[in-house]
Amino acid sequence: MLWGILAIIALAALFGLLLGLASVVFKVESSPVVDQIDALLPQTQCGQCSYAGCRPYAEAIAAGEAPINLCPPGGENTVQALADLLDVEVLPLEEEEEAHEGPIVAVIIEELCIGCTLCIQDCPVDAIIGAAKQMHTVIESECTGCELCVPPCPVDCIEMVPIKQTITTWHWPEPQYDVNHTPTGNIFTTIDQLLAENAHP
């Protein structure tokens, strides 16, 4: 009887020790939740969430101070991803007054630019090059379309334009799963359409 109890106790102690050791040795290093949230945000640094940038917003979400639906550039996919990460309910996106269709970039109208450098100072990702009294220009590949450069311009020479879709950026649409719709994503255009309006672009 006594030996039995002792043996069980010894075994329990041994396994306890093993488990304790394993939890130390094989500890999974997970990146802090702020980093994980920050990785999901689109990094436009636009401040539309009312925070100073994506990182501060991530910190606010992690601290439970901000809801997950304040990021218009990220759109619904970001809200979904954040909800998955934090295991919270998906909230409808809080829309600003106007939302743009698709990605946009800033373009400086060169004839109007007076070289005041105000936009350069406000660009969160250093995507504008230029110097005092020299014409400025936007590096398109670096621009996040945050629109922060638009208000400071004294001559209103910055325009936000949608990025043009080309053959290389185009992608297949989601097939329509609808009984009333021919479900081929393949555009089986009818002959009348083919021969009519788009015959000559």
Binding site: Q43, Q45, D126, H171, T182, T184, T189, L194, N198, P201
Partner: protein, 572 residues
């Protein structure tokens, strides 16, 4: 693996379909040359990779074969004028692409003379012994292939020179020439084999020379007996040349007709029994695969010096009066070749570029032929089934049975619908060759391939966006850091200024206090003198320290120094 095992045994690939080939519509008769149209629209991006940059201006006179689009970067292929004439515009025009979006094209008004630019062949044609082939290096041939703008004409459109270059660097022991042409209706490769088998064989010798492959296999479906015979005869005819340049002969092997036997990975599996690793390339298992038309184009570039300016196009379907194969100048409008083959407007149902399985409906018939255009299929009503509306998936798993890549289309479909991109990636969506077998067999008519194309594009898009976000984050953090640094530097400067000012003030105060007579001016004067003496001592000590290098001189060095000193003195 010896070559004899190839002949003794054929392997097979999973899934696949027996399809009604309908190739007899167009596979008889010679290759007609299509007329050169009045206007050619030559797209500047006809390949996978960077679009080319136009090197001609509006108003320039160009000759056939003249470079008009310069290749940018390593994965790119130049574009050439396909007839002589005048450039009338360089602008965006509709091109044959499923998106229906325009792309930059060079428009040439032809002069009707069809005059060639200077063509410089690497090997002259009057060399019956093919001795000159020995003198050519692999680099020379590869350069010529790159210069000629040759891309994978089996449909991949990957620049051939880049592919050959990679294969040459890796150990590639088997060259497989794809002559299977498994998709229904299409017979352009078949016609080429009938009519120009010698060009193909010589092209294969050139490719073999570049990659240094030991074995060479031509895989052809057994529904093309005449092409098989023509090629076999050509191999026999060139036996001496082949013997001289290869240790092994070129084997031509008939494979069972089953769609998609002409898929690169499927053909490799049938011929060698090897499977290309997931998300890998045939080169990973020592194999390179080229289309038969690509081989013939390599021949044209090397033996005739002609760049890729035309291709054979099958024009077929129930609404075409005289289905046939035509040699068409790239840039010719599809309407022109339809007109030449004759078509009945009232009978037209669908106009598809490519075959019925993998092709896409054209956005318009006023689009130009590109390097990718292998077939124009103009069907009549009832010829090709329009899929009825999709019904829910009943999990019958017929799609999985038909998949030649052994994927699980029904699972991938659910994940594509739910936009669970990570999961669909785990199901190896990037191994999908988009052959369309799963959609074809689906009893619920679910457009599975379209879902997979959509999912692939979404994954690429996501990746692009993530990369962009990472770049933006990096730049933002760098900027924050820079601003922080600048702020610190400013504060530091302000602090230093303040300190200096305070010191100065304190000194002035001291001076003022000194004037009051606390310290005698004499004593402060004596202090100053002491300080000056100390400074001059320190300076002397430093100078002496600097002179150290004249100590420990050898005798010869000392003499030199003395002589120099004397010369200096003598001059003064």
């Amino acid at each position: 693996m010896s070559i004899s095992t190839h002949i003794q045994r054929l392997w097979s690939f999973p899934g696949g379909l027996k399809l009604d080939g309908r190739k007899q519509l167009s596979n008889e008769g010679p290759i007609e040359s299509a007329e050169i149209p009045r206007l050619l629209e030559i797209s500047l991006s006809q390949h996978i990779g960077h679009p080319t940059e136009a090197v001609v201006k509006v108003g320039d006179n160009v000759k056939k074969g003249q470079l008009i689009g310069h290749a940018e970067g390593t994965v790119s292929a130049p574009v050439h004028a396909s007839s002589s004439g005048t450039v009338t515009a360089i602008e965006e025009r509709l091109v044959p692409h499923p998106s229906g979006l325009p792309a930059l094209c060079v428009i040439i008004e032809t002069d009707g003379y069809d005059r060639w630019d200077n063509c410089t062949p690497l090997i002259s044609l009057d060399d019956p012994q093919h001795k000159n082939l020995h003198a050519l290096s692999a680099e020379q041939i590869t350069d010529k292939v790159a210069e000629a703008g040759i891309v994978g004409l089996g449909g991949a459109l990957y620049p051939s020179a880049a592919k050959l270059e990679t294969a040459r660097k890796k150990a590639t022991d088997t060259l497989i020439i794809n002559a299977a042409e498994c998709e229904p209706y299409i017979t352009c490769d078949d016609a080429l084999m009938h009519n120009r088998p010698e060009e193909i064989i010589l092209g294969i010798l050139l490719i073999k020379k570049i990659v240094g492959a030991r074995y060479c296999l031509i895989g052809i479906e057994d529904n093309k007996p005449e092409a098989f015979k023509a090629l076999s005869d050509a191999i026999a005819g060139y036996e001496r040349a082949i013997h001289e340049h290869c240790e092994q002969t070129i084997e031509i092997i008939q494979v069972p007709t089953r769609y998609p036997a002409g898929g690169e990975k499927q053909l490799i599996q049938v011929l060698t029994g090897k499977e290309v690793p997931t998300q890998g390339l045939p080169m990973d298992i020592g194999i390179i695969c080229h289309n038969i038309t690509t081989a013939a184009t390599v021949y044209q570039a090397v033996y005739r010096g002609e760049p890729l300016v035309s291709r054979i196009v099958t024009i077929t379907g129930g609404a075409i009066k005289k289905p046939q194969n035509m040699e068409v100048a790239i840039g010719t409008s599809i309407r022109e070749i339809m007109d030449q083959a004759g078509w009945d407007k009232n009978k037209v149902d669908k106009i598809i570029m490519g075959g019925p399985m993998m092709g896409f409906a054209l956005p318009s018939i006023d689009v130009p032929v590109t390097k990718a255009t292998n077939c124009i299929l103009v069907s009549e009503p009832g010829e090709l089934a329009t899929p009825p509306p999709a019904m829910p998936c009943i999990r019958c798993s017929r799609c999985a049975d038909s998949c030649p890549m052994s994927l699980l289309p029904q699972q991938m479909y659910w994940y594509a619908k739910a936009r669970d991109l990570e999961k669909i990636h785990d199901y190896n969506i990037f191994d999908c060759i988009e052959c369309g077998c799963c959609s074809y067999v689906c009893p619920s008519n679910i457009p599975l391939v379209q879902y997979f194309r959509y999912a692939k594009n979404e994954i690429w898009d996501d990746e692009r966006e993530r990369n962009k976000a990472n770049l933006a984050r990096e730049r933002h953090e760098f900027r924050q850091e820079r601003l922080e640094k600048m702020k610190k530097a400013r504060e530091e400067a302000a602090r230093l200024r303040k300190e200096k000012l305070a010191k100065k003030k304190a000194e002035e105060k001291q001076k003022a206090a000194g004037g009051d007579g606390e310290k005698s001016p004499a004593s402060s004067h004596a202090d100053l003198i002491q300080e000056a003496i100390a400074r001059s001592k320190a300076k002397k000590a430093q100078q002496q320290a600097q002179k150290r290098n004249t100590e420990n001189l050898t005798e010869a060095q000392q003499r030199q120094v003395d002589e120099a000193e004397q010369r200096r003195r003598g001059k003064h």
